[in-house]
């Protein structure tokens, strides 16, 4: 009869209320993801004074400003680079990167793979809405084939990244994917991602109703977020490479939940230990 309660989480404690209402379009999944992130922060008991949010450019990047923490809205594609410096210089801070599919995978793709490889204690939340929303709806590295955007007016023909597979292949210690409609699951995933010592990559399937959904006849926000969920299949929570719910009933494609969790040496700690060894050797 364990009574767990969500009572203590009041999102307003984590928001810069004077900036509201926020600038996101109606039904934008980024807002839901933001809630999940702050909820996870709350559950982990992270003091917002010790929380650093580094975000890139785009709709995703703008969300950081609404968080009442140390927020850094940096250059396009580079939040992981900034965060790397910040986290190495300030291991006492909890550094979370908010980025988008274009920010993270296109212009910032190089930083992503190296951040994964380096395995520094960072959490990267990539809000994937399949489109460059802020610039008016151009195709991104995750825009599915046949989708219409302002730069794929006859339907996209480019293959897409599976960002999670990319991150895992690049060596990220923790990789997960979740949809916004599963807010508590997303919260749990982010919570585990932040708690994970090492580089954590979380892809959030967000929806861009106004610019992308309309153009592709994907329905309004409620339907979009529901569709996202149903095209996913959950990996067994907490089990690495766990089984998935689909046979014999579901035709699905991407997995959700924790996809990879390995304990590789965390770069920051490894570096500090290495440096301490060097200093000790010099003294003796």
């Amino acid at each position: 009869m364990d009574e767990i309660s969500a009572d203590s989480f009041n999102i307003r404690d984590y928001l810069r209320l004077e900036l509201f209402p926020h600038f996101l379009c109606p039904g934008c999944g980024h807002g839901i993801a933001l809630r999940a992130l702050l909820w996870a922060i709350h559950e982990l008991g992270i003091d917002k004074n010790d929380l650093a949010i580094v975000s890139g450019i785009g709709c995703s990047g703008r969300t950081g400003a609404y968080i009442d923490a140390n927020t850094f809205h940096v250059t396009h594609g580079r939040p992981l680079a900034f965060a790397t410096g910040l986290a190495l210089a300030r291991p006492d801070l909890e550094v979370v990167v908010i980025t988008g599919d274009g920010d993270c995978l296109a212009i910032g793709g190089n930083h992503l793979i190296h951040a994964c490889r380096r395995n520094l204690n960072l959490t990267c939340m990539m809000l994937n809405n399949e489109v460059y929303g802020m610039t008016g709806g151009q195709a991104s590295p995750t825009t599915s084939a046949t989708r219409y955007t302002t730069t794929t007016q006859s339907g996209s023909i480019e293959p897409v990244f599976d960002a999670c597979a990319l991150a895992a292949a690049a060596g990220a210690g923790f990789v997960g994917r979740e949809v916004t409609i599963q807010t508590p699951a997303l919260k749990n995933l982010l919570r585990d991602a932040i708690a994970h010592k090492g580089f954590s990559f979380v892809e959030v399937l967000s929806d861009c109703t106004e610019i992308f959904g309309r153009k592709n006849d994907l329905g309004e926000s409620p339907e979009m977020i529901m569709t996202q969920k149903s095209t996913m299949r959950p990996a067994s929570y907490g089990v690495v490479g766990g089984n998935i719910v689909d046979e014999p009933f579901r035709a699905t494609n991407l997995k959700t939940g924790i996809l990879t969790r390995t304990d590789r040496p965390e770069y920051g700690a490894a570096y500090r230990a290495h440096a301490a060894g060097i200093r000790a050797a010099r003294k003796s």
């Binding site: 009869m1 009572d7 529901m226 569709t227 089984n243 719910v245 959700t256």
Partner: protein, 605 residues
């Protein structure tokens, strides 16, 4: 008439050793078989379904037993067999007779060649129906002699007798059952089958072709037949006078007769084995023999009114309810109210609480996702007859109307034609129901160019009545493989331009397809495509379990109404977390699809 001795007696002299326990429905079938029936046709309907199912257990060399598309077709099939000079049976539930009545109304004019018996089963108490109509009104409407057995032995005997009477009076004969009779098992003495040589078709256009001139000539014959039949009853065992205390005389029939015998065994009883026509002279004599006259009959006061019309003084519905099923308790209460019996001492009841256990959809029922989606679409939903009618209540609460078999599409057409409805108009109809009477309505929808969506809930079986085959299952009543109707082809042939199949276990595909269908201007048909979890093949996916650690007790999964999902003893935020009964779960994964925490996972390892 049979006048019994003054002693209270069992309605039979059945020796247990020589008898076998049978339900009323089994006995109906046995009676028909013993009578040498050659052709049986029916459409399933509780409580009549098992009659044809049992008939089909007799050798195929003896008889044909089949499911027909609907009750009217079944009735026509039987009529055709009668034309051919063989004995024919059709069976249906009370509302099925509404469908078949059109044929019956003419058949009664034509009369039987081979014996023609129609068993109709009423449902007093509405255990599984949409109304409580009393079929005995049809007896009078169609002027069809109607026998009323009171137990399984009589069900057998009367059915057998009905065939003889049918041929003797050249009339269809109706045998009426009730839910209680149909589903009560009692000891039955059985006999052998008689085999008659087929009489063959009798060419007699004046009688067989119901056109106005012939029909006009036939009507007087009906009146004559009514008189003849009443005369027959005077010498028949169907009417039994059981003398007793002359202070109280009770006329009763069907199962209520057994309640009377149970509750007031001392009374004089006139047991009617036939409710139409009534033996008026015997009734007068009986009335004269007793001080107070009662009639105990279920549902409408048909006998009561006719007795009263004879100028006799009689009490019936004044003391015995007109609504619902009778019982020994109610019969006793009636006689207490009439001052015949003394009230029993009021015994204090046991002090315990009641746990409600209303009917629910099965775990993994493929209908669930359709209604969840319709609810999300905020559609105006015209329902139909089937298990899915349960979607009208908590938690799905997504059916707005349910009228009668096959009505949904017509209702939707009317709703659309009336204008003013801002929500998408949807008709939901099962596969069997669609074939039963949905097709003409669908043709109507196409013909009249209406903007509606039809969700064909194709669970590939007639589920509600216990899993009967139909024309789109590709199997007959006896299990033989036959052509399977392809719904998509059929619907396209009707002229529906927008037809799509969708996996009932893919919620978002459902939602998306439904949305597209409702946005389509014109008739759109979506076929929800998963078999019933009970029949004919039991499907099992990986069973699901709840990860209690991550469950946040939102209970979103409870919206499915899945009986395998219930509260656990753990709490979150003031709400119960949930758990899944592993024995109940079939692994449809719908709950996992609605779970906002990814807490519902397959037990796969």
């Amino acid at each position: 008439m049979n006048i019994s001795s003054g002693e209270p007696q069992a309605p039979r002299a059945v020796k247990a050793s020589s008898a076998r326990p049978m339900t009323g429905n089994e006995a109906f079938a046995r009676g028909a078989w013993e009578a040498g029936v050659k052709v049986g046709a029916a459409y399933p309907g509780t409580p009549s379904t098992e009659i044809m199912e049992n008939l089909a257990t007799y050798p195929a060399s003896d008889l044909t037993a089949q499911w027909s598309t609907n009750e009217k077709v079944a009735c026509d099939v039987a009529i055709g067999a009668s034309f051919a000079g063989v004995r024919a049976l059709t069976a249906m539930k009370h509302v099925g007779l509404n469908v078949a009545s059109d044929a019956l109304m003419s058949m009664t004019y034509i009369g039987a060649n081979g014996g023609f018996v129609l068993i109709v089963c009423d449902d007093p108490g509405i255990h599984s129906s949409q109304n409580e109509q009393d079929s005995r009104y049809y007896s009078r409407l169609a002027m069809v002699p109607t026998l009323e057995p009171s137990d399984a032995q009589e069900a057998l005997d009367y059915t057998k007798l009905a065939f003889d009477l049918s041929e003797r009076f050249e009339s269809p004969i109706m045998v009426r059952g009730t839910t209680r009779l149909c589903h009560t098992r009692s000891l039955v003495r059985v006999g052998e089958r008689r085999e008659d040589a087929p009489k063959g078709f009798v060419e007699n256009p004046d009688r067989n072709v119901m056109m106005p001139s012939n029909a006009r000539a036939s009507h007087p014959r009906l009146l004559e037949r009514e008189r003849n039949f009443e005369e027959f009853l005077n010498d028949s065992n169907l009417i039994r006078w059981e003398p007793g205390d002359t202070k109280v005389g009770v006329i009763s029939l069907s199962t209520p007769y057994t309640y009377v015998k149970e509750v007031i065994p001392e009374a004089s009883v006139l047991k009617l084995g036939c409710s139409y026509p009534l033996p008026s002279q015997i009734i007068r004599d009986f009335a004269a023999s007793v001080e107070r006259l009662f009639v105990v009959e279920e549902l409408e006061p048909l006998v009561e009114n006719e007795v009263r019309a004879m100028g006799l003084t009689i009490d019936g519905k004044k003391f015995f309810p007109r609504v619902g099923e009778l019982s020994p308790e109610l019969v006793r209460e009636g006689f207490v109210a009439a001052g015949v019996l003394e009230p029993e001492d009021e015994q204090p009841g046991f002090d315990v609480t009641d746990t409600p256990r209303p009917p629910v959809m099965c775990a993994g029922c493929p209908h669930i996702s359709s209604y969840l989606s319709l609810r999300a679409l905020d559609a105006r939903v015209m329902g139909d007859i089937g298990c899915y009618t349960l979607a009208a209540v908590h938690p799905l609460r997504s059916i707005d109307t349910c009228v009668a078999m096959g009505s949904s599409i017509g209702n939707a057409i009317g709703l659309a034609k009336a204008g003013g409805e801002r929500r998408p108009i949807v008709a939901t109809i099962g596969d069997s129901t669609m074939l039963h009477s949905g097709i003409p309505a669908l043709i109507d929808a196409v013909y009249n160019d209406v903007d509606i969506t039809v969700i064909l809930l194709d669970n590939q079986i007639t589920a509600m009545t216990g899993g009967q085959n139909h024309a789109a299952t590709g199997k007959t009543l006896r299990g033989d493989r036959v052509h399977r109707i392809d719904f998509v082809d059929l619907i396209k042939a009707i002229g529906v331009k927008w037809v799509r199949r969708v996996d009932s276990y893919d919620l978002s595909a459902m939602l998306k397809t439904f949305r597209e269908a409702t946005e389509y201007q014109g008739v759109a048909v979506v076929i929800s495509d998963r078999p019933c979890v009970l029949d004919p093949v039991k499907i099992r996916g990986e069973r699901m379990e709840v990860d209690a650690a991550s469950c946040v007790a939102c209970q979103a999964c409870m919206n499915l109404g899945c009986p395998a999902i219930m509260w656990s003893d753990e709490w979150y935020d003031g709400h119960h977390k949930v758990r899944i009964d592993p024995d109940g779960c079939i692994g449809c994964s719908l709950c996992a699809q609605v779970c906002p925490t990814n807490s519902i996972l397959a037990i796969s390892n």
